[in-house]
C-alpha cells in the first residue's frame, strides 16, 4: 500500500507543484492588481491580504486532489491498479490516502508559508492561528473525500440500483450537513473544531475505503 501511494505521489508530484505555483501566482496577481488599481485604503490592507496566501495553497491542493480523483475515473485507473498483485484493501487504502496526502502536503506548505509571512511582518504566530489554517485545510479535504464517496455511490447505483445506495447517500448527506454546521462555528474552541473536522475526514476516508472494498466491478 505504501509503495503504491509513494509511486502515485511521485507521478503526481508535478501536478501538485504546478497547482501550488498557479495558486500562488493567482494570489500574487490579486495583490499586484490591488496595489495598482486599489485606493490608499486597499493598499494599506495588502500586508493583511498577503497573510491569506496559505488559503490559496490549500485551495490549490484541493484542486489537485480533485484532478487526481477525476483522472482516476476518466482514465479507468482502477482497472490497472486492481491488476497489480495487491489485495483490494491495500488498493482501497492507497486511493483514499493519495488525495489525502496531497491535501496534507498542502497543509504543511500552507503552515510554512504562513509562518514565513508572519515572520516577515514581525508578527507573532500563536498556535490558534495555525489551528485555523488546519481547520480550513481539513475542511477542504472533506470535499475531496466527499468526491471519492460520491464516486463510490455512483458505482454502487450502477451495480445494484438506486435503492441499494440509499443508505450510503443518506450517510453522505449527513456528513455534508455536519461540515456545513461546523462551518457556522458552533464550536467555540478552535482545537475542538479541528478535532471534529479530523474525525469527519477520517469517517469519510473509512467510508470511501469500505465502499471500494465492497465493489463488484473494477473495470472503471
Amino acid at each position: 500500500m505504501w509503495r503504491l501511494l509513494s509511486e502515485e505521489l511521485r507521478l503526481y508530484r508535478f501536478l501538485l507543484l504546478i497547482s501550488w505555483a498557479l495558486g500562488a501566482a493567482i494570489f500574487g496577481l490579486i495583490l499586484v492588481m490591488t496595489a495598482l488599481l486599489g485606493d490608499a485604503k486597499d493598499r494599506a490592507e495588502i500586508p493583511t491580504i498577503a497573510a491569506q496566501l496559505p488559503l490559496a495553497l490549500l485551495v490549490a491542493s484541493m484542486v489537485a486532489g480533485f484532478i487526481v480523483t477525476g483522472t482516476e475515473r476518466s482514465e479507468s485507473r482502477v482497472r490497472m491498479l486492481v491488476m497489480l498483485p495487491m489485495s483490494i484493501r491495500q488498493i482501497a487504502a492507497a486511493r483514499v490516502l493519495l488525495p489525502t496526502a496531497m491535501s496534507l502536503l498542502g497543509l504543511l506548505v500552507a503552515h510554512a508559508s504562513f509562518a514565513a509571512l508572519l515572520a516577515l511582518r514581525g508578527a507573532p504566530f500563536p498556535l490558534e492561528r495555525h489551528l485555523k489554517v488546519d481547520f480550513i485545510g481539513l475542511q477542504l479535504l472533506v470535499w475531496v473525500l466527499v468526491a471519492l464517496v460520491v464516486r463510490e455511490i455512483i458505482e454502487l447505483q450502477k451495480a445494484r440500483g438506486r435503492g441499494a445506495a440509499l443508505v450510503s447517500t443518506a450517510l453522505l448527506l449527513g456528513a455534508v450537513a455536519l461540515v456545513a454546521w461546523l462551518e457556522l462555528g458552533p464550536i467555540q474552541s478552535i482545537a475542538l473544531g479541528v478535532a471534529a473536522i479530523v474525525a469527519l475526514d477520517a469517517a469519510l476516508a473509512v467510508f470511501a475505503f469500505a465502499m471500494f472494498c465492497h465493489r463488484t466491478d473494477f473495470t472503471k
Binding site: 509511486e7 483522472t71 482514465e75 479507468s76 491498479l81 497489480l84
Partner: protein, 296 residues
C-alpha cells in the same frame, strides 16, 4: 511444467439488468489458445473480466493456475497479463514512466523483455500516453501485459486499431509467448482471421451462454458447404444447419460434412460438390443458428 489448469470457471453467473452471463463452466490447459467468439453483448468481455478479477461473479468460482480468484489474496494476479478495452495508464505520463510504475509491483518484470518488445513494435517510450495513437496505446498495453512474463494472457480485442503489419507482428509475438507450452491465451476478438491463425480451441458464445466449444481443426474438418441436385423440391439433410435452393441446385451448410455426404448418397443426390469453410464462415453459421449445445 505446471500441471494446473491455466484457468477454470465453475458455475459462474453474472447478472446485469437485461443480461445474464452463464452459468458458465470453462477451463483451459496451459499451452492452449482459446478463441472466444460471439456477437456484441454476448458476454465475452464479462467472462474475461471475471477471470481477471475485475468483475465479481454473482455465483460460481474462478481459478487461475489452481489459485482461487479472490481480491483478498492477490497471489494469482502475478500469473496474469490482461489487455482489455481500457488500460488505465497515466495519460499525462510517458509510456516509459507507466511501464516503470508497473515494474515496481510485478514480480518477474524484465526491463530487457520490455525493451525488446517496445523496439519490435516501434513504440515511442518517451512520448506521453495522451500523445500516442490508438495503435501505439494498444501496443503499449500488450508490452505492459507481457512485461512480467505472465503464464496466462487475457486478450480482449488486442489488435483493435492496429494496422495489418503491426497486427501480424503482434500475432508473431503471441506465437513466441506460446512456444514453451506453459502459457495459455484467452483471446476474444471480432477479427476472426487472428483467431484462425492462433487459436487451438474455439468457444462460441451467445446471449451469455456457450453455444459450442470445439477444437479449431475439428471445426474446419467437419464443417462443409455442399451443393447437389435432387429431384425433390425440399429435403431434410443430416447435419445441415443452413439450407437454400437456387433453381435446381440445393445448397447446404453442414456441421458434419461426412454425415451429410453419406446421407445425400443414400438419397441419390447428383452433382455433389463440397468445399471447406473458413473460420469466419463457420462462426457466422454457428452464431446465426440455434441448434447447438455446449459440449461437455
Amino acid at each position: 511444467m505446471s500441471s494446473a489448469t491455466a484457468f477454470s470457471l465453475t458455475g459462474v453467473v453474472k447478472r446485469y439488468p437485461g443480461f445474464t452471463l452463464g452459468p458458465l463452466d470453462l477451463s483451459v490447459e496451459p499451452g492452449t489458445v482459446l478463441g472466444f467468439i460471439g456477437p456484441n453483448g454476448s458476454g465475452k468481455t464479462t467472462t474475461l473480466n471475471c477471470i481477471a478479477g475485475l468483475v465479481r461473479p454473482d455465483a460460481g468460482s474462478v481459478e487461475v493456475f489452481g489459485r482461487r480468484v479472490d481480491q483478498g489474496t492477490p497471489a494469482w494476479k502475478a500469473d496474469l497479463g490482461v489487455v482489455g478495452e481500457a488500460h488505465g495508464f497515466y495519460r499525462s505520463r510517458t509510456a516509459e514512466e507507466n511501464l516503470r510504475f508497473l515494474s515496481r509491483f510485478l514480480p518477474g518484470w524484465s526491463d530487457g523483455r520490455v525493451r525488446r518488445l517496445a523496439d519490435r513494435f516501434g513504440l515511442p517510450l518517451g512520448k506521453k500516453v495522451e500523445q500516442l495513437s490508438k495503435g501505439h496505446v494498444a501496443k503499449l498495453a500488450l508490452v505492459a501485459a507481457l512485461g512480467h512474463g505472465p503464464r496466462l494472457l487475457l486478450l480482449d480485442e488486442p489488435t483493435s486499431g492496429l494496422d495489418p503489419v503491426v497486427r501480424a507482428e503482434v500475432l508473431d509475438v503471441l506465437w513466441e509467448v506460446l512456444e514453451d507450452g506453459e502459457h495459455a491465451i484467452f483471446y476474444s476478438t471480432h477479427v476472426l482471421s487472428d483467431i484462425a491463425r492462433l487459436a487451438d480451441e474455439l468457444v462460441f458464445l451467445r446471449e451469455g451462454n456457450v453455444l459450442l466449444r470445439s477444437s479449431k481443426d475439428a471445426l474446419t474438418e467437419r464443417w462443409r458447404r455442399i451443393s447437389f441436385r435432387l429431384a425433390d423440391a425440399e429435403v431434410a439433410v443430416a447435419g445441415a444447419v443452413e439450407y437454400r435452393r437456387v433453381r435446381a441446385e440445393h445448397q447446404v451448410v453442414s456441421e458434419d460434412g461426412e454425415a451429410t455426404l453419406s446421407h445425400l448418397r443414400q438419397l441419390g443426390a447428383e452433382a455433389i460438390e463440397q468445399s471447406r469453410m473458413t473460420i469466419d464462415e463457420i462462426a457466422v453459421a454457428i452464431l446465426k443458428g440455434s441448434n447447438h449445445v455446449a459440449t461437455p
